[in-house]
């Protein structure tokens, strides 16, 4: 009987253990990490972290670390640099992903971009450090960005500082700085500031769509906050791959800030980027309605972005776009094209001076520099692989004079900062023109 009791006792003990072990694995709530809670932002971890890898005499592109020259800040997590004798290259910051300030503009995107411009633009030295994969899928170099705010200061890890200033979250990618970045992320998150839960005071969160015209956006853009969504009825003037030059469907009259009225048609370059392909949805002259956002004098100049909800074509209004003609001999530089920004124009008397070729991801790009009769320079840009369709080397020759039809676009390195951006070329099938492309046939024409 005693042994029987013992057996039962053992069974009970065993069952208890079974229950406890079994439940422990399946049911335990995860432990709450010890995270310091803050209500104001500071740079605790950025102040502590030091650059410990030597970069003296090293080149970032060749050696994976090196001091670089900042060419420009594109946005909160992307810059253009020059490293040693290399051409300019774009750098994407590791471990973070700030909200967009170009293309589809997001809350805190502009603020993150401004922060990067302030800190990196005023730095006395910037060192880039690679870790892991050298490039992202678009070919940009990936880097930790160390900057020195003043001659006697230590280098600071900008990627980390942006997390602590709540301009971005940590992307939780594996890294030698992972522990610090994670702690900074979790600590900053408790503040619920910036991207961790605060509304961007300079962003329009309203879902309301403002029905307006391109002309009104050109003249009264100051009235609208970043993020405001617009609905515009437009005519397609030219396509550039997935992007478009658009003009108001009809002439409109708007009141300017000074109380004066102006009548005409506004024009904009509309950047679709990698949004769902609008490509080939519309033909030149088609009129349709689309919602968009406005980027005013940003990195890529003034343009419409965030295109969405494109309507069907309004055939009652569709027809050829209005294209004004200008004589390059009457102009001093690309700067004289500024009033036509976003519009498609017909520019005559351009003599080809040189053709510069570049390539990205297998696609060639050409900048044709032209001169007028007094030697003033104008740039004509063929983007995307449209050039292959145009076969620019076959249709433009140095020394010959041309008239072109293309959109006016901002480019900071163009002569006079404004250039002609050529649209898609007409397609030919063994010499036979695709009839949809008839309006493009004379976009490049030699002047005899």
């Amino acid at each position: 009987m005693r042994s029987f009791k013992k057996i039962f006792l053992l069974i009970i003990v065993f069952l208890f253990a079974f229950v406890l072990i079994g439940c422990d694995k399946e049911k335990d709530n995860p432990k709450k990490d010890d995270v310091e809670e803050i209500t104001e932002l500071d740079t605790k971890y950025t102040d502590q972290l030091k650059l410990e890898t030597s970069f003296t005499g090293k080149d970032f592109i060749k050696d994976g670390i090196g001091e670089i020259k900042l060419v420009r800040v594109i946005d909160g997590d992307t810059i253009t640099i020059r490293s040693g004798a290399s051409e300019t290259v774009n750098i994407r910051f590791l471990g973070i992903d700030t909200p967009e300030s170009t293309g589809n503009i997001q809350p805190w995107g502009k603020a993150a971009s401004a922060f990067a411009k302030e800190k990196l633009g005023n730095a006395v030295s910037i060192v880039l450090e690679a870790e892991g994969e050298r490039n992202d899928t678009t070919g940009r170099y990936l880097a930790w960005v160390w900057y020195k705010p003043s001659a006697d200061a230590d280098y600071r890890l900008f990627n980390l500082e942006e997390i602590e200033m709540a301009y971005t979250q940590y992307t939780f990618s594996s890294s030698k700085y992972e522990d610090t970045l994670k702690k900074a992320h979790n600590r900053t998150k408790t503040s619920k500031l910036g991207v961790f839960g605060q509304k961007d005071p300079n962003y329009n969160y309203s879902k309301e769509v403002v029905v307006t015209t391109l002309l009104n956006l050109q003249y009264n853009h100051d009235k609208f906050q970043t993020g405001t969504k617009f609905s515009v009825t437009v005519r397609l003037a030219r396509t550039v791959g997935n992007n478009m030059f658009l003009e108001d469907a009809e002439e409109v009259t708007i009141e300017q800030a000074n109380g004066e009225y102006i009548t005409g048609k506004g024009g904009f370059y509309a950047f679709s980027g990698y949004a769902v392909a609008y490509y080939r949805e519309y033909l030149i002259g088609d009129v349709f309605t689309v919602t968009c956002q406005l980027e005013w004098e940003g990195q890529y100049g003034t343009q419409l972005t965030g295109l969405a909800s494109p309507s069907r074509v309004d055939s009652t209004l569709s027809g050829e776009p209005e294209i004004p003609t200008l004589d390059a001999n009457d102009l001093e530089s690309g700067a004289d094209l500024k009033p036509y920004l976003g519009h498609v124009i017909h520019l005559t008397n351009l003599t080809c001076d040189s053709i510069r070729e570049s390539e990205n991801n297998g696609t060639k790009y050409y900048t044709v520099t032209c001169v007028n009769n007094s030697g003033k320079k104008f740039d004509v840009y063929f983007s995307n692989s449209i050039i292959t369709r145009w076969r620019v080397q076959d249709i433009i020759e140095v020394g010959k004079t041309y008239e072109v039809i293309g959109g006016v676009a901002f480019y900071e390195y163009a002569n006079g900062q404004y250039q002609i951006s050529m649209g898609d070329a007409p397609r030919y099938n063994n010499g036979v023109l695709n009839e949809d492309d008839l309006p493009r046939v004379n976009d490049v024409k030699e002047m005899i």
């Binding site: 009970i12 069952l15 049911k27 995860p30 992307t171 997935n242 696609t363 060639k364 099938n429």
Partner: protein, 473 residues
């Protein structure tokens, strides 16, 4: 005494069954399905929805969230937009789970859910699905594309629903339509046809002059410098798994515990000993050796579109979500279903995320999240979502809606892509589902690397596979 002991044993056993119900009989929905009346009667209920999407999808989600909040004024949908990749979002979510700060719902891949299930952080949705008031009828449930809904049902033998499909894409064959039209070539449908089509292509292009056709670029120059391949396939990992399924092989499988629940921490490799898998690799390598087919990496490009656009390739199989990458092509882009090996195994891959609900949420929050999930994937909303984003509708009936069928007739590349992939809902096509566990994504990556070495470097097939298995560990 015996009786007392027997009671003690009985009670303990019951405690064990109740407390450990999940581990003895699979996952159970350990939440109470409240009624809509209880939800409406509550004070404000907040649903935090963690996403990692671009602006276009955000706009669509916001549109549906607003409609939902109008219907349920005391429910607030807060959309938290995470940065980085999907994998980054998973890591962030695990941090949130560990700090007791999980969102109410999120989107993710099946292997993410496997990781969440290690700590039972997400709930099976069966309690909601089967509820007569807030659930789905059997007809509604069958309206989901079978392959899409199956992905969320793989974590136990009884097929509990851990997710509902949301933004789904697949693969399609993009091709230079001008070329195929001009030379009256039939777009290949099978891998065997690809072989003969490529032989024809190579015969045709040898006589074409640079610039003779504006949509073919400098073809002779590209051939001369070794930068012309008729056919490319964007993703080495996708090609590896898809070809194994199409050749009748096995890639991986789940490991079930004795209680019928999948071991979410490990899985079983099958491809390394499967003769059909090896045959698939052999056939693909033969096509590569003939110069007919390869991966974009063979041209030092990240995507096949970068070769198709300037005329360095004539066909590319890539994601249906990537159609805008072809917008600068020198040719008219045509879109067709992906290739298959034999008519009885028309397997096609599915990509994209599914919706799940976290266990840390209260029962009211869970109910609100469930109702919002239902709103996100109504036939009308999934069709609208597809038209705005290029992803595919997840409900069969959405494909027949007049607005959607009219959209498919459009000229845009997005419309062409959706038109081509509508074929996958019938015609013998099946979306396959691979076993998911924490770490299954690594297996896929390593298999992709093995295939790259097989196709690009001509590596010995068995050695490349064995090396991959070694790296997986």
């Amino acid at each position: 005494m015996k009786k007392v002991l027997a009671y003690v044993v009985l009670v303990l056993a019951m405690i064990g069954l109740v407390a450990c119900g999940d581990s003895n009989s699979g996952y159970t929905a350990d939440y109470e399905v409240l009624s809509i009346d209880e939800l409406r009667a509550a004070d404000q209920v907040e649903v935090t929805f963690k996403i990692q999407f671009g602006d276009i999808i955000q706009q669509e989600i916001n549109r549906m969230a607003e409609a939902f909040m109008e219907e349920y004024p005391n429910v607030k949908i807060t959309v938290n937009i995470m940065s980085g990749s999907y994998d980054d979002m998973k890591k962030q979510t695990i941090e949130d789970i560990n700090s007791g700060d999980a969102p109410t719902m999120t989107v993710g891949y099946a292997d993410h859910f496997a990781e969440y299930l290690i700590s039972n952080a997400i709930v099976p949705l069966d309690g909601f699905i089967n509820d007569p008031n807030v659930g789905y009828t059997s007809e509604e449930l069958e309206d989901f594309l079978p392959g899409f809904i199956a992905e969320g049902r793989q974590f136990d033998k009884k097929g509990s629903y851990f997710s509902i499909p949301f933004n789904k894409s697949t693969e399609a064959l993009y091709y230079n339509k001008d070329f195929f039209d001009e030379f009256n070539l039939k777009v290949p449908e099978t891998w065997d046809e690809l072989d003969s089509t490529c032989a024809q292509i190579m015969d045709i292009v040898k006589d074409i002059q640079d610039g003779q056709y504006s949509w073919l670029g400098d073809i002779q120059n590209n051939i001369e410098i070794g930068e012309f391949v008729p056919m490319l396939y964007d993703s080495n990992g996708n090609l590896f798994t898809t070809s194994i399924h199409q050749w009748g092989g096995e890639y991986t499988s789940s490991i079930y515990k004795s209680n019928g629940v999948v071991d979410v921490q490990k899985g079983q490799l099958k491809f390394n000993t499967d003769k059909n898998a090896k045959q698939a690799m052999t056939d693909l390598q033969n096509l590569a050796n003939k110069g007919y087919f390869n991966l974009p990496d063979s041209l030092e490009l990240n995507y096949g579109s970068y070769a198709l656009n300037p005329g360095k390739a004539l066909m590319n199989i890539g994601s249906t979500g990537g159609s805008s990458y072809y917008s600068s092509a020198i040719c008219e882009i045509g879109v067709a279903p992906t290739l298959y090996k034999s008519a009885d195994k028309k397997y096609v891959l599915q990509q994209g995320t599914n919706l799940c609900i976290f266990s840390q949420a209260s029962d009211l929050e869970k109910l609100a999240a469930w109702l919002f999930i239902k709103e996100l994937v109504t036939p009308e909303n999934t069709a609208k979502f597809a038209m705005a984003t290029g992803y595919m509708p997840v409900r069969q009936s959405a494909y027949d809606l007049p607005e959607y069928t009219e959209f498919l007739q459009g000229r845009s590349l997005a419309a062409k892509v959706l038109r081509a992939t509508s074929a996958y809902t019938s015609n013998g096509w099946n979306y396959f589902v691979d076993a998911a566990w924490a770490g299954s994504a690594t297996v896929r990556t390593e298999c992709g690397t093995a295939l790259s070495s097989i196709l690009i470097d001509g590596a010995d097939i068995q050695k490349a596979i064995d090396d991959a298995v070694g790296r997986i560990g």
